[in-house]
């Protein structure tokens, strides 16, 4: 089988942009949460989010292209540019037909939809922008990334809500393994912190209402958790065949060795209370990697900080790993970044690749009093220096769609 490695990472997150700033944020236990600044949130029941306030599209994208992209596409293109740079790819030397892009979004260009709907209502149909459709479509980001670099290989956008980023990486893994691509840019992006989305997620009961203490609001596995903190950002990983990486002298950060995907087929937003779909996805990913539960050192949990997820994910980890579950160092990146929805799986896979490469597992912040039903080792005491040989990254989406990845030392 063709081995697939991660050779570059680009991220836009609420705790840092680019690999070094992101990793520094993880190591410092920084929280990206605060009162919403992109619009006046007063009047909304939830006024906090994890915004990527430092993101400046003009650093990465020409002024001609910026107005043609929704913010989620801008973040994806910026992440792709950062990833290509991090990987040291010489774009002109690449066989473009064998380089693809799989980059999704949970929602797509919601800000664009809201703006153009306002134009329709207040000024009529001629005032609706001709750029509305290409800006809002969730596959727009993958298309724009391909156009920027001239990559003609497989190109599409998975949409599986909060599992999107992991599905994208898993699909990219398959294209390279099948020998049908040499290099794939894979990941996800999300920029949907709008009044409409905040209202909608609040009505679902999904968001933390800890408005007076935003940095303590995302507290996965803690007894006092009350929902996730809405985040925005993007993550793109450069995946390539080991042979391709070797031929150009690139140092792999980690190997992507397993992918498992399942559906709960239970409820559109609630996880299966026994975590069966999630556990099966972890098991399939391990089997795909040729690994057993005893091999696993680290899990980057889905860990959303919702009452449901953290409890059932704990059950699922125990179900998939059995007695080995208690020995695994588990962390929730979302404790720091908030929930990046369609970008989460990609940013978290990036965190796992870095944990493997740098020999440190980031911690779970705000975990002060663990829920008695969350009784595993969530690395609440901050980053932990340790050798990480085999790790799992979990993503579970609304819709009951689960995607798990196995990454290991290359």
């Amino acid at each position: 089988m063709i081995d697939v490695v991660v050779t570059g990472i680009g991220v836009v997150t609420p705790i840092g942009i680019g690999v070094d700033a992101f990793w520094a944020g993880l190591m410092e236990g920084r929280s990206g949460a605060g009162t919403i600044e992109r619009f006046d949130p007063s009047g909304l029941p939830v006024t906090i989010a994890c915004e990527a306030g430092d993101f400046d599209a003009t650093t990465y994208i020409s002024p001609r292209e910026i107005p043609r992209m929704d913010r989620f596409t801008q973040m994806a293109v910026a992440s792709a540019a950062l990833a290509v740079e991090d990987a040291g790819l010489d774009v002109e030397e690449l066989p473009k037909a064998r380089v693809g892009v799989i980059a999704g979004s949970g929602i797509g260009g919601l800000e664009t939809i809201e703006q153009e709907h306002e134009n329709l209502r207040t000024a009529g149909p001629r005032r609706v922008s001709p750029f509305m459709v290409p800006k809002l479509m969730p596959n727009g980001a993958a298309g724009m990334i391909a156009m920027r670099f001239g990559f003609n290989g497989p190109n599409y956008a998975p949409a599986s809500a909060c599992a999107t980023g992991s599905h994208a990486i898993g699909e990219a893994l398959r294209w390279i393994r099948e020998g049908r691509a040499d290099v794939m840019l894979a990941g996800g992006s999300e920029a949907a912190i709008t009044p409409l989305a905040v209202a909608a997620f609040t009505r679902m009961g999904a968001l933390s209402k800890r408005n007076d203490d935003p940095m303590a609001a995302s507290r996965p596995f803690d007894a006092e958790r009350d929902g996730f903190v809405f985040g925005e950002g993007a993550g793109i990983l450069v995946l390539e065949s080991l042979d391709h990486a070797r031929a150009r002298g690139a140092e792999p950060l980690a190997r992507v060795s397993g992918y498992g995907a399942t559906a709960d087929a239970f409820h559109v937003t609630q996880p299966d209370p026994e975590g069966k779909g999630a556990a099966a996805a972890m098991t399939f990913a391990l089997e795909d990697a040729g690994r057993t539960p005893a091999d696993v050192d680290h899990i980057n949990a889905h860990g959303t900080s919702t009452p449901y997820n953290d409890k059932t994910e704990t059950i699922a980890i125990k179900s998939a790993l059995g007695n080995e579950a208690k020995k695994v160092s588990i962390c929730s990146t979302k404790s720091q970044t908030g929930h990046l929805l369609g970008a989460a799986g990609a940013v978290e896979a990036a965190a796992v690749a870095l944990a493997i490469h740098r020999g440190v597992v980031p911690g779970t912040i705000n975990l002060e009093n663990a829920d008695p039903e969350c009784d595993l080792d969530y690395v609440a005491d901050g980053p932990r220096e340790m050798a990480v040989n085999v790790a799992i990254s979990n993503s579970f989406g609304f819709g009951g769609q689960n995607a798990c990845l196995v990454l290991e030392r290359s």
Partner: protein
């Protein structure tokens, strides 16, 4: 409307979209010199309609190739309701 006033409006619109204002002359070809695609043209048209309070039917855009052509077309229009 003065030609120079219309030219400045077109220039401002295109500069806001990242196009070098120096290139925006009466002789400039919208597609070949300024790189406008069909979506840009629709957006420019609506921007000019808003600015000058006129209506430009899509069918009348067919003969518009250069910035000067666009200015000619706009000069034939009277503000709606005027």
């Amino acid at each position: 409307m003065e030609r120079s006033e219309i030219l400045v409006t077109i220039k401002d619109h295109l500069e806001a979209r990242g196009i070098d204002g120096e290139l925006v002359t009466e002789q400039a070809d919208l597609a070949n010199d300024l790189g406008l695609d069909s979506l840009d043209t629709v957006e420019l048209t609506v921007g000019l309609e808003e600015k000058f309070g006129i209506e430009i039917p899509d069918t009348e855009l067919e003969g518009v190739v250069t910035v000067g052509d666009a200015i000619d077309l706009i000069q034939t229009k009277s503000p709606v309701g005027a």
